[in-house]
Amino acid sequence: MSVTPNVTMTFSEEQGMLLDVARGFVRDQAPMDVIRAQLETETGFDPALWQSMVDMGWAGIALPDSVGGAGMGVGSAVPVFESLGGGLLGTPLLSTTLAGQLIWRAAGEAAASWLTRLCSGEVGALALLDHADWGAANCGVSLGSDGCLNGRKCFVADAGVADVFVVVANDNGETILAIVEASSLSSDALSHNVVIDLTKRSANVDFTGVAPVEILRGDRVASALRDTLLLGALLTASETTGAAALCLSGITDYLKTRKQFGKLIGSYQALKHPTVDIYVGMENARSFIYHGASVVDDDPLSEDAETACRMAKVAADEVMVFAGDRSVQFHGGFGFTWDCDSTLFIRRAQWAQQMFGGAIHHRKRLAALLLDS
């Protein structure tokens, strides 16, 4: 039942360097005007920027070197995603990383060819959901006797630019992972979503009639899927934490410079104290993601790791929703305009809080984990 004992937090020099590099990269390569220029484009990111990230080895950051990855362990992705979030930089890195995790955890080195492709910059996408409910079983897509899939997946992140899809499907009651090449999709397979977060892209994808190139099945599939969803929660939380920190610094900057009724608005406690609460929430989320980074590894995730991933997601969601909302409010009239970055923050909050299950989803599971043992 006890929750507090495990406060593992490891931090190597290597990870410290990675954090510095990642922050520096986002600061230099993706200032807000670069981000804004991509908001209403089709893909939402600049291919050259993506290539730079691939060149730095981030596409394989969470994978072992035997399959072309960086070999730093999956926890090393945490500071990278925190940094990306800290610039609201939308790229297909999250999808690609998680596709890599799912394949690696389900098939290991037997799937090295796929993993190598992902590490080298091909975009991977996870086709998980049959509908909006993250908590339901999502295996509506089935494998037919003709070797083709049948059915549609919803809200597939980065589907528009994906080279490889990992599709959670159902073969006579067995959950399988079908690997599909984007080139095998029909031209009208994708219908793009209008995503509230303009730095993100997703689509509904119809896999009907598509023949997967490979099917992963067996004992490890269920655990790989569960762990990938947990890692999705952790990495989304990391990205969200970075975004919350950026949002906080936007608020404090404004509170330090904007005057109303002859005083800097930051001197009003009605603005000042909630900003402190955003700060505290952001630091909590940061503590949870670093803790998560320290307790996840290539093995099936432990109960402590599961707890850490879920808590990270809850903490990050909650602070981001609060920070984004207060950012609009505290910027006053300007906050209500498109030109104020607050709009990007509430949109990010709205996107992040549902990805891989929201606070209510994870809190329910945490209650079972922590109170029913």
Partner: protein, 400 residues
């Protein structure tokens, strides 16, 4: 002038029957959620026609004098019309600044000439009004207004800039607060109030895009704009008083508004209806005890607001803090709506991340858009933080 229940009931039936026939159906393009968000000519034309039609049918300005285009009845009739508009999910009545603030203000403080000239066209939507109070650097601090109006002969020459001018790019007139004297001891005494034309040289309204991605606001620039001296309302230097009176109408402290149906109303029942179709963990969301408890909280807030409105009519039940219920309406109502819209937008699973324009979005992204749009209400007309100060100081007597 209270009316018999029977007469009101009959009127209600009449209005309902008319609306069943006449409320326009979905025009096939996005309509604004509130009058603050009229962003395209298409929307404008549609809403102007609709308001005109309502007025022609005799259902607008129910309690305004007939000589100015009103119906000369009790305000209870307007209340019924507004309620039926909501019940029929009618498009909004958009000329709000005219209907809710300028009209009542003119009827209260205007000259006969001003009333004759302006009021009927407000009702008929022939003339649109906007408001020029806030300025870029001062936000809520109206005392600091810098826009200058200098009298030259029978004209004032106006220079400066106003911000958040809702409908500014379409408006015919602006209620303008400008500084006619920079040397007064109290900064308030240098301000004057104008019923200023918008369609004159030197006035330009630049649309501002909103958090929702839509338009409706403007920044209005005055560059040596010349307006007739007769536009001055009241005395020169007496603008502060008129502006404060206007804010009372804006804040709903005073009655007299011609239609409060300026935005798509959302009720707690709508919220529950919407959420009842959603699943979580493969079960109806409404079977989750935590969600149920949250909804009880929202229902209680909604009920408390309704009861509070009812209680305001019984002075004996509010003796401790006589104006308290009225002065706290904006503080409570706008924040309640923000939380309620956010909640509904956020309990849709993956659909929470969809927006207006996605076919899969819950109710076309209504709740997400409504949440974003609601910041207009918690920021505009005095932010929530300022509202809390108002209640603290004016109701509880706490120091500034």
């Amino acid at each position: 002038m209270s009316e018999s229940k029977a007469a009101l009931q009959a009127f209600k039936s009449e209005v309902a029957a008319w609306m069943a026939e006449n409320v326009p159906s979905d025009p096939g393009f996005l309509l604004p959620l509130t009058f603050l968000e009229v962003g395209t000519e298409q929307q404008l034309d549609f809403l102007r026609e609709w308001q005109h039609k309502l007025w022609q049918a005799g259902f607008l300005g129910m309690h305004w004098p007939t000589e100015y285009g009103g119906q000369g009845a009790d305000s209870a009739y307007q209340f019924i019309v507004d309620k039926e508009l909501g019940r029929h999910r009618a498009p909004i009545i958009f000329n709000t600044i005219g209907l809710n603030w300028v009209g009542p203000l003119l009827l209260d403080m205007g000259t006969e000439a001003e009333k004759s000239k302006y009021i009927k066209n407000i009702l008929s939507a022939e003339e649109i009004w906007c408001q020029g109070f806030s300025e870029p650097d001062h936000g809520s601090d109206l005392g600091a207004v810098q826009t200058r109006a200098v009298k030259e002969g029978d004209e004032y020459v106006v220079n400066g800039s106003k911000i958040w001018t809702t409908l500014g790019n379409y408006a015919d007139h602006m209620i303008l607060l400008a500084r006619t004297n920079t040397k007064t001891e109290r900064k308030y005494d240098g301000l004057s109030f104008f019923l200023s034309p918008m369609k004159v040289a030197g006035v330009e309204a630049h649309p501002i895009r909103k958090v929702t991605g839509e338009y409706g606001f403007n920044q209005t620039f005055f560059t040596d704009a010349r307006i007739p001296a007769s536009c001055l309302m009241g005395e020169e230097g007496g603008g502060w008083t008129v502006a404060m009176k206007t804010l009372e109408y804006e804040r709903g402290v005073t009655a007299g508004q011609a239609s409060a149906y300026w935005g798509v109303a959302v009720q707690v029942d709508d919220m529950i209806d919407e959420l009842s179709a959603i699943e979580q963990d493969g079960e109806p969301l409404l079977s989750d005890p935590i969600v149920r408890d949250d909804l009880v909280g929202f229902m209680m807030e909604a009920k408390a607001l309704s009861l509070s409105a009812r209680r305001m009519a019984i002075p004996a039940l509010g003796t401790d803090y006589p104006m308290g219920l009225a002065l706290s309406v904006k503080y409570r109502g706008t924040e309640y709506e923000r939380r309620m819209k956010h909640y509904t937008a956020s309990k849709q699973g993956a659909q929470s991340a969809l927006y207006v324009g996605d076919d899969d979005a819950v109710s076309g992204g209504f709740w997400q858009r409504a949440y974003f749009s609601n910041f207009g209400a918690t920021i505009g007309g005095g932010t929530t933080q300022v509202q809390a100060n108002i209640v603290a100081e004016h109701v509880l007597g706490l120091p500034k």
